[in-house]
């Protein structure tokens, strides 16, 4: 019987058991490895291990020698919200080059960025439900995400990694039926939010699983520099689209949904979840206003410089992606390519929160917490 005693003999005399969650685990949203120290089912410590998806984004940007060749790689950071990643980078480059971008380009960018925000939140919400055992909402939400990807396919030719925005413009103009497609999507999508709320958000089991789990107090959120839905879930009204507007976000009328602790404690997993659901509605409002204001005519490539060579200097631009504050810090030494590109990725920051908010919970809660902070490993490792 010696052979079967291995589990106990290796850790004999210890009350605690160390267990690896990941990198091949169904609920770590990619290749994340969590070293859990368990006392029974209770987590006494957690150590996130990253680096399984590291692709040297920053080093590549230094070596490539061309500012526009960095854009496809920004897509691959947070691959479920590629448009938002591009948006941040091109905004930073345009501020550096002091380019005035045409109206039509700005409107199209805002529309695709908000559509991408919806698509990304749908994936985040769906995967969160999947983590908690609710399989069906995931597929309902994917049907809606599919409609967005179809529009993006018409627009850019790609469904996941678009390489659509260029410095000073867009790769090409949107197709003629873009406006009707988007308007149709907005119309059909709105009732689905209610359906989602009926099926998942206010489901009693779902609330029991997420309320009071992984409570992130406002102070801890500040200390860890949390942003996006994670920070807003703790009741802080902070959205870069309002607080530090970039692009043309100051023209639109929308609200910042924040967590209120209505199902449990302020800053629990349910609050972070419901902030995302409510942001869907706000994104729809922005899209509607942008569709109304979008000029019908205009050359989307006219402002794009032929040769990108910024003056020596540096620029930091932060934008609001679905996951939080994405910052690009670009240093130029007046050559064809960047001297340094540093990305401040929200998922990376949020991953470090895990240890602070998950100790003392059960294994099942760990899954709920990882799902509720909605990390994308491509962005964590870059």
């Amino acid at each position: 019987m010696n052979d079967i005693m291995n589990i106990t003999t290796k850790e004999a005399g210890k009350r605690e058991m160390t267990i690896n969650m990941g990198p091949q685990h169904p609920s770590t949203h990619g290749v994340l490895r969590l070293e859990l120290v368990l006392d029974g089912e209770i987590i006494t410590d957690v150590r996130p291990n990253i680096g399984y998806l590291h692709r040297c984004f920053e080093k590549y940007a230094e070596e490539v020698g061309d500012y526009s060749k960095v854009i496809p790689y920004t897509d691959r950071m947070d691959y479920v919200s590629a448009m938002n990643q591009e948006h941040g980078y091109v905004t930073a480059m345009e501020r550096m080059l002091e380019i005035e971008v045409p109206e039509r380009v700005e409107y199209i960018r805002v529309i695709v960025a908000e559509m991408q925000r919806i698509a990304s939140h749908l994936l985040g919400i769906g995967a969160f439900g999947l983590d908690l055992g609710a399989f069906t909402p995931f597929l309902y939400l994917f049907t809606e995400r599919e409609k967005i990807l179809n529009i993006f396919e018409k627009v850019s030719g790609a469904r996941l990694l678009y390489n659509y925005m260029t410095v000073g413009g867009l790769m090409r103009d949107v197709p003629e039926d873009f406006k009707t497609d988007v308007a149709e999507f907005v119309k059909t999508f709105r009732p689905k939010i209610k359906e989602l709320n009926d099926l998942l958000s206010y489901n009693k089991i779902f609330i029991q699983r997420t309320a009071d789990v992984g409570v992130l107090p406002e102070k801890v959120a500040f200390n860890y520099a949390a942003s996006g839905p994670v920070l807003r879930g703790s009741g802080v009204k902070w959205d870069l689209r309002k607080n530090d507007p970039y692009s043309i976000y100051d023209r639109f009328d929308f609200e910042i949904p924040v967590g209120s602790g209505e199902m449990g404690t302020l800053g629990d997993s349910w609050d972070r979840y419901i902030v995302r659901v409510r942001e869907l509605e706000q994104s729809l409002r922005i899209i509607e206003q942008a569709l109304d204001g979008m000029p019908d005519e205009g050359d989307v490539t006219e402002a794009a410089p032929k040769r990108i060579r910024p003056k020596a200097g540096e620029m930091y631009v932060r934008t609001e992606t679905p996951r939080g504050e994405l910052g690009y810090y670009i240093i130029s030494d007046n050559k064809g390519g960047p001297y340094r590109v540093k990305a401040r990725a929200p998922s990376f920051v949020h991953l470090s929160l895990l240890r602070a908010i998950s100790r003392g919970h059960l294994i099942a809660d760990m899954i709920a917490i990882v799902g509720s902070i909605d990390i994308v490993l491509g962005e964590v490792d870059r």
Partner: protein, 342 residues
């Protein structure tokens, strides 16, 4: 039928009695796995399997079975080989053996013993042991956690299951499921309703609800599928299993689901009795009604699975010890009082 076989010889009779439930289980399992995928598909706004075999992909589970048969039999190096190999078969045997006392129709029951219900509850307890055996022998921490959860869950939920079965036994006054079914013949309640126990006594409706929730947990179905909760414990006690051994676990699980549904049908929904009195009655129709009612409960279990999220382990225990067990015992007294008074 059983008298006729007695003439040919007791040995062949035993063989046939063993083969009939086995055939039913195997055919049911293939159909149920396909059905579950189809139901999941329809609930999730898609089509489900639609290629293998032509008509609505009916041969999908057969194709999967063939695939599993061809798979390499992997046994982890540090596993306890005997227990590891034995666990899936023991699990299947436990649920298969329990089919012996299920009255499939008025003309067929595997074994007419007076302590039928008691036997069933005793034999299905072996499921817990085989789950622990498989999880422990795999020498994998996820399997171990899964099997420990499973042990706690199945032992706990056996209490409300037994209490609700006991409630029906009080009303029926017999442990023999054939007798229990015969007591539910006829259509006398309010002039048209069948004499099923669920209609006979208002408190038995509560008993059925408790029973149904408990069998969801006993059969590891959502929202109580914690032992194999895939998004938490990888695959629970099944993590290291592959190929046919894994298929045996799945088969046992589906067989268990059917067994508990059929037990529910026998205890509450009149077993093989036709809902229309003498209309469409008889041994063959009896089998039809019995399986029909049983599969209806199975479909409800599938429906629940694809609708609800999963409970957490402490909430699961609270539901059992905090709600179901007290409720089932209070209900037992109320049912008994009703029987005494009316």
């Amino acid at each position: 039928m059983s008298e006729l076989l007695g003439i040919i010889g007791p040995a062949s009779a035993i063989l046939v009695h063993a083969l009939i439930p086995l055939t039913i289980i195997l055919v049911y399992a293939l159909a149920a796995i396909w059905g579950e995928r189809k139901i999941a598909g329809f609930i999730q706004d898609r089509l489900g399997p639609h290629r293998v075999g032509g008509w609505h992909g009916w041969a999908q589970s057969i194709a999967d079975l063939l695939k599993l048969l061809q798979k390499e039999d992997i046994i982890p190096t540090d596993a306890s080989r005997f227990l590891y190999k034995f666990a899936p078969f023991m699990m299947f045997t436990a649920s298969y053996a329990a089919f012996a006392i299920i009255p499939f129709s008025s003309g067929y029951i595997g074994s007419m013993i007076n302590i039928g219900v008691f036997y069933l509850l005793a034999v299905t307890s072996l499921l817990t042991i085989s789950v622990i055996m498989g999880g422990w022998a795999s020498n994998n921490k996820w399997s171990l956690i899964g099997s420990m959860r499973s042990a706690a869950q199945m032992v706990s939920y056996e209490v409300p299951t037994i209490a609700s079965v006991l409630t029906v036994v009080i009303v029926a006054g017999s442990l023999n499921l054939m007798t229990v079914t015969e007591l539910q013949s006829g259509n006398d309640i309010l002039g048209f309703l069948p004499n099923w126990f669920i209609f006979q006594n208002p408190f038995l409706i509560i008993t059925f609800i408790i029973f149904f929730i408990s069998i969801l947990a006993e059969a590891h179905r959502v929202p109580f599928d914690l032992p194999e909760s895939e998004s938490e414990l990888v695959a629970g006690y099944q993590t290291e299993y592959s190929g046919m051994r894994w298929a045996m676990f799945m088969l046992a699980e589906y067989a268990d689901m059917l067994l508990l549904s059929l037990l529910g049908v026998t205890l509450f929904f009149g077993g093989w009795n036709s809902p229309f009195g003498e209309f469409m009655a008889g041994p063959i129709w009896g089998f039809f009604w019995f399986m029909g009612k049983g599969l209806f409960l199975v479909v409800i279990m599938m429906w629940i699975r694809w609708t609800l999220p999963r409970y957490r382990v402490d909430q699961l225990m609270h539901i059992c010890w905090g709600i179901l067990i007290p409720a089932s015992f209070v209900n037992l007294i109320l049912v008994a009082l009703w029987e005494v008074i009316f």
